[in-house]
Amino acid sequence: MTEMTDRPTVPVPGLPCDAEGPVFREPWEAQAFAMALALHARGVFTWPEWAATLGAEIKRAQAAGDPDTGETYYRHWLNALERLVAEKGVADAATLDRYRHAWGHAADRTPHGTPIELRPDDFR
């Protein structure tokens, strides 16, 4: 939580000249963005459903103390994605947890500088 409360809540940081600035801060943000578009294209959810879920996640984060300055935006995006994926019966939270732990295991056993790949034994 400290990283969030330490962040100043600046009123509309200007950046008006930064027309071609980076749109994603980290690659995972781009991946999360693309997954939402791909799932929508597959008909998993509609844009109104998406907007309602994302809006609800943002409200929930604000209530929990997130300053919601835009920098945490893709966290809300990811929360909304996980929630809709579960609600639509695509993948439940337990499945996502299992894969998350497996990726954690894969990351831990992979030496620095080597691409991290998931193996069946990561699920044990």
Partner: protein, 210 residues
């Protein structure tokens, strides 16, 4: 999905943050179930990072400045008009263009989340997604404009349009003076992303020359 950030800390030198693990998990599950294709995801990212972006919107604005019939069509049905230019329209079937005039300045916002006309402007800037912008744009649009260095005549009305998942807005900025006879390509260089959100004005020929 609460609690994800707390029950499995990776403080023992893992290469991946908790958030990265969640994204990888989601992508792997969706790929295995056949919902997404990693190559297609990369293509989406590439499209939105490089091919789609404010330049598409700028081309639309420049055409509207040069071609009265296109401008009329754009203001009547922006989705249809933009589609005649061959732009990809993935999101928001209902695009509405709102025209700035000396009497009225338009600004767009999404107070609920961050609905944005991706197909013509690319991905939204960070400030557009921030709570301060989302709340202040409605309550104090003149103050927000001042933050962006824009000062309008006192008698210019400021109209703020709240986007939704179904209806997204594109501001058609005023054509700068001194651009008579310019080609669409030259005009497009004057059109900034912010001028199409309404937090800026189109560049003047003098600003472009700088």
């Amino acid at each position: 999905m609460s609690g994800h950030d707390h029950d499995h800390p990776h403080e023992h030198g893992s290469e991946l943050s908790e958030t990265q693990l969640r994204v990888r998990a989601l992508e792997t599950v969706l790929t295995e179930k056949g919902y997404v294709d990693p190559a297609a995801l990369d293509a989406i990212v590439e499209t939105y990072e490089t091919k789609v972006g404010p330049r598409n919107g700028a081309a639309v604005v420049a055409k509207a400045w040069s071609d009265p019939a296109f401008k009329q069509a754009l203001l009547k049905d922006a989705t249809a008009a933009v589609n005649t230019l061959g732009h990809v329209s993935r999101v928001g079937d209902h695009l509405v263009a709102v025209e700035n005039t000396p009497q009225r300045h338009n600004m767009i916002v999404c107070t609920l989340c961050s609905c944005y006309p991706w197909e013509v402007l690319g991905l939204p800037p960070v400030w557009y997604k921030s709570a301060p912008y989302r709340s202040r744009a409605v309550k104090d649009p003149r103050g927000v404009l001042a933050d962006f260095g824009v000062e309008l005549p006192k008698d210019t009305e400021i109209r703020v349009w709240d986007s939704t998942a179904e209806t997204r807005f594109l501001v058609l900025p005023m054509r700068p003076a001194g651009t008579e006879g310019w080609s669409e390509e030259r005009l497009a260089a004057l059109v900034t992303r912010d001028s199409m959100i309404g937090t800026g004005l189109a560049r003047t020929p003098a600003e472009l020359a700088q």
